[in-house]
């Protein structure tokens, strides 16, 4: 039975934050969604202390084997989330992980405390791809900023704290080590790679925000390398993600040391991708166990 920081999971496949709105999906597909929920835990879209409308369009742009997004974390804010969304997410048949981002330690600590207090919540993911308003540094690019943040948050709860690492840094393993020192239970990686594109029709950046984050199969090799390097450095649990679209892809992450995997962009192409990846993964792992890799003579 797969497990993440003490949370038992029915499969090693969860969702990537911000890539599945279970409430919207239920309104679209009905309760069929709950009967065969595609993930073994549900990670919410990142919430922030205050409500956010998100970035001006255009927000998405397709790229070779991937996509750019500059969604800009639209969300109802902490209070709106706790009041309106959390009760509905609690109806999902799987453990709930809430993703949080804030720009001061105090705000971060308050969010963690308020969210962790709710019994519906199994764990908290900390999205640290944000600037520290005091130092101006992007927390997740910096090992000591990350360590200090974790030291501030750790006392707020005994529930597992998962740090979502940013891939836009020279040494994600050093940041993971900072998270470990600060008391994190797990890291999840990768978030999106910084990227942009020019709209051929206008000759200017295609996204309203000027740039965005790259996801999808295009980034999978980068994600795998970051998982490999993080695993070499820390003993924490790892949620591996980035371009997973099949069970074979998921198996690559597990082979390099991920504890569980998350499916993001692939859910846009296939709303049940999570279940499919889990099923394919089981076949892959079964066939690996039953037969050593064979060399055929012809």
């Amino acid at each position: 039975m797969p497990e993440l920081c003490g949370i038992e999971l029915s499969t090693p496949v969860i969702n990537a934050s911000g890539t599945y709105d279970a409430i919207a999906a239920r309104s679209v597909f009905g309760d069929e969604l709950l009967d065969d929920f595609p993930f073994s835990a549900f990670v919410s879209k990142t919430i922030t202390p205050e409500p956010r409308a998100g970035n001006a369009p255009r927000r998405i742009w397709e790229t070779p084997s991937g996509m750019l997004n500059s969604i800009g974390l639209p969300n109802k804010g902490l209070e709106g989330f706790l009041a309106e969304d959390l009760p509905r997410l609690a109806e999902l048949p799987v453990p709930l992980i809430v993703s949080i981002m804030a720009t001061t330690r105090e705000d971060f600590a308050n969010c963690v405390e308020r969210v962790a207090r709710r019994p519906e919540v199994a764990a908290i993911e900390l999205n640290v791809s944000c600037p520290n308003v005091h130092s101006g540094l992007i927390v997740g690019e910096n090992p000591s900023e990350t360590e200090a943040l974790l030291e501030a948050l750790r006392p707020q709860t005994e529930k597992p704290l998962i740090v979502k690492l940013t891939p836009n840094t020279a040494a994600p393993a050093a940041v993971a080590a900072g998270a470990e020192r600060g008391g994190a239970d797990a890291v999840s990686l990768i978030n999106t790679l910084k990227g942009t594109a020019v709209d051929p029709a206008s000759g200017v950046p295609a996204l309203g925000n000027g740039y965005g984050g790259l996801s999808g199969p295009a980034v999978r090799p980068v994600a795998l390398e970051q998982v490999r390097s993080v695993r070499a450095r820390v003993g924490l649990s790892i949620v591996g993600m980035g371009g997973i679209s099949s069970g074979a892809d998921a198996a690559e992450f597990l082979a390099l040391g991920a504890t569980v995997v998350a499916v993001g962009t692939e859910s846009f192409r296939d709303p049940r991708a999570g279940s499919r990846v889990a099923a394919e993964l089981e076949c892959t792992l079964l066939s690996e166990r039953s037969s050593a890799p064979a060399l055929h003579l012809d």
Binding site: R59, I60, S65, S267, P271
Partner: protein, 297 residues
């Protein structure tokens, strides 16, 4: 109901089965510069006019420099229940503007296409929009005539009075016109055309035709339904607002998922903030949108 209240979401009867499914292409034919691709869907419900599907060809997807990668949102243009072999025939009108629509247009009979849907809301009937409304005016341009074809058929089956105004650039760009033909093969009598070169119907823009209707007596109690390029939709929206006529606009915006997962399809609300067009639309009431702009389309 106000002009800015969202349209109700479709009920369970036209709700998408959970997940994508592989459908077989029944036929594919040219239609005035566009292509009509017909699929047989053995699982889904009958869609409502204005609803759309996310489509991805099984073969050739990703074959142009790694694109198309995401599925493509396409309105359903016509349906036929009880297609040969069971299931529902879904007709899509496609304009091959890029790798995704090209791969879909290339699908030949027997080839397979992934679909998710029907998705989104649908046009309301004039009576729901404005009780006692005189009738419906359907205004379409370009490939945007697609959802109006299905809407026209439903209205005529239900005896809802309606007129149809379609605009095209010229004869070579009059795709989908055959979707507005009755069983006789001739264009339905309620359809009027405007072409920019005057080759068919009146010379000018479809909004010229609309203006002359809105200037008429019974205009205010009618409802305008429109789909087409952003500049046309904006002209329709502004005309209706000026004349105090209710309107419903089927918009486009970039969609990665179609079921509310990606937040990519944001359309600005007049008062600030954004709608997710895939779940809050694609049909919006005139009052729900500010200026319709190419920026998010």
């Amino acid at each position: 109901m106000t002009d800015s209240a969202p349209l109700p979401r479709p009920g369970a009867a036209s709700r998408a089965p959970f997940g994508r499914r592989l459908c077989t292409t029944a036929s594919s034919r040219d239609s005035g510069g566009y292509r009509v691709v017909s699929l047989v869907d053995r699982e889904g419900p009958e869609p409502l006019p204005g609803q759309f599907y996310m489509l991805a060809a099984e073969d050739g997807w990703g074959a142009e420099d790694g694109r198309a990668f995401l599925p493509r949102a396409i309105s359903v243009a016509e349906t036929r229940v009880g297609a040969a072999g069971g299931g529902i025939r879904l007709d899509f009108l496609l304009d091959a503007v890029g790798p995704g629509t090209r791969a879909l247009c290339d699908a030949r009979a027997g080839e397979k296409i992934w679909i998710t849907g029907p998705l989104g809301n649908s046009f309301a009937s004039p009576r729901e929009v404005a009780p006692g409304a005189a009738g419906a005016v359907l205004v379409g341009g370009g490939v945007g005539v697609a959802p109006l074809a299905l809407l026209r058929r439903r209205f005529s089956e239900r005896g809802v009075p309606h007129r149809v105004l379609l605009g095209f650039r010229d004869r070579a760009h009059s795709g989908g016109l055959d979707l507005f033909c009755g069983s006789s093969g001739a264009l339905c009598p309620e359809v009027r055309l405007a072409t920019e070169d005057g080759s068919q119907g009146v010379q000018g823009r479809v909004t010229d035709l609309l203006l002359s209707i809105l200037a008429g007596d019974d205009a205010e109690s009618g409802v305008v339904y429109s789909c087409g390029p952003p500049a046309m939709l904006e002209a329709v929206r502004a005309l209706c607002a000026d004349h105090g006529v209710a309107c419903e606009l089927a918009l486009e915006s970039p969609m990665a998922c179609g079921f509310g997962a990606c937040f990519g399809c944001a359309v600005p609300k007049p008062g600030g903030g954004y709608l997710r067009l895939c779940v809050d639309g694609p049909v919006l009431r005139g009052g729900q949108v500010g200026e319709v702009s190419h920026a998010y389309a």
